[in-house]
Symmetry: C2
Subunit: 194 residues, 2 copies
Amino acid sequence: MSKKDDILKAAITLFADRGFQDASMTEVAKMSGVSGATVFYHFKSKEALFLIALETVKDGIIQEFDQYLSEHDFESGLELAEGIISFYLYLAGTMEEWFLLLHSHYPYKLALVNEECRSHLEKIYNSLVDIFERAVALGREDGSISAGDSRKTALVIFSMVDGVVRFKIYNLYDTGALFNELINSCRKILKYKM
Amino acid sequence: MSKKDDILKAAITLFADRGFQDASMTEVAKMSGVSGATVFYHFKSKEALFLIALETVKDGIIQEFDQYLSEHDFESGLELAEGIISFYLYLAGTMEEWFLLLHSHYPYKLALVNEECRSHLEKIYNSLVDIFERAVALGREDGSISAGDSRKTALVIFSMVDGVVRFKIYNLYDTGALFNELINSCRKILKYKM
DNA sequence: AAAAACTGACTGACCAATCAGTAGAGGTGG
DNA sequence: CCACCTCTACTGATTGGTCAGTCAGTTTTT
């Protein structure tokens, strides 16, 4: 692996662990075994490094979901939705860094003034909500789901799952203990009609 | 209002807006119209100021919910649950600062090494989940709710609502557009039995 | 030899925290 | 009434340290 990759990997870890402001470029350099100046040779500024870190996380998340969906078959839209939730929780466990970065405040503040940042965030959330929405739409066709508006239902389910992930990565509650309850709640939202 | 209160108020705004590390004591001083040294006269360190800001938010949230619950009557446990959700979203709109502070990474990192911080966070979340849990338990008694485990159901509902609040304060999606969907989803989770 | 990768030493800006000292309110003795 | 004292609130100036970013020059690769 090239030194540039080492730096990027260290940056993701540190930005996730400490947040943008509290992660110093000196630390990134130390963690990746290069001198401070080398970091600036490969990345023109701290903000630029953060944006590339965010882009890497974006690509990682999207690629992982693509792979998961291509490797599994689902009997119904409802089963697909449950699979996505399970995989989201699994990924948040194995790739905790990605979700810590995604739950930190900085990218959302930067997105207000930086179009590239906004674009990365939109891509991530749109991709994830799209996946849920496709499951809902599919389930409505095959009869396994009877919820109303696909997009809004997908958004609420996503915010529920992401809320549980947040509790997990901030050490508030254990996701494992809530997994069954989460899947059950999701089924109820999707199966029933008010 | 005393200068100490001015400082605390400015600190809450700045910590919420920029996070702990990016909010400087000089800025807090400037915003509250005192000299830099005065901030340290009233609060012994930046961390101590943050802890008091968090405590103030804790007291504010708990007091607001106490008042809301004492001023309203509810026909059933289900109606109470819906009222709590509505009020949570309302409060996140009017007191956005509180929820920004509560969604920032720093307090959860500090909680790992600082007991006082951990205690504040636990108090906030336990109070909120308790309120939901009481609604679920009440609804099971009066027949308006048929969900399983009260605590776990309360946790999932809370994480769903808090997830939507996060989308709102991070400018990802508009809470208003999701309100009806959220209430509907909550009803489904609470009313039906798998 | 030329280009790319890399580094040590440095700079200016900023920041948390300190400290010596000022201003004024309130109390006390003469 | 005043002279003196004390305590709280407050401040300007300073300090030691950290940080992002630069640059001139060295090493490695092609």
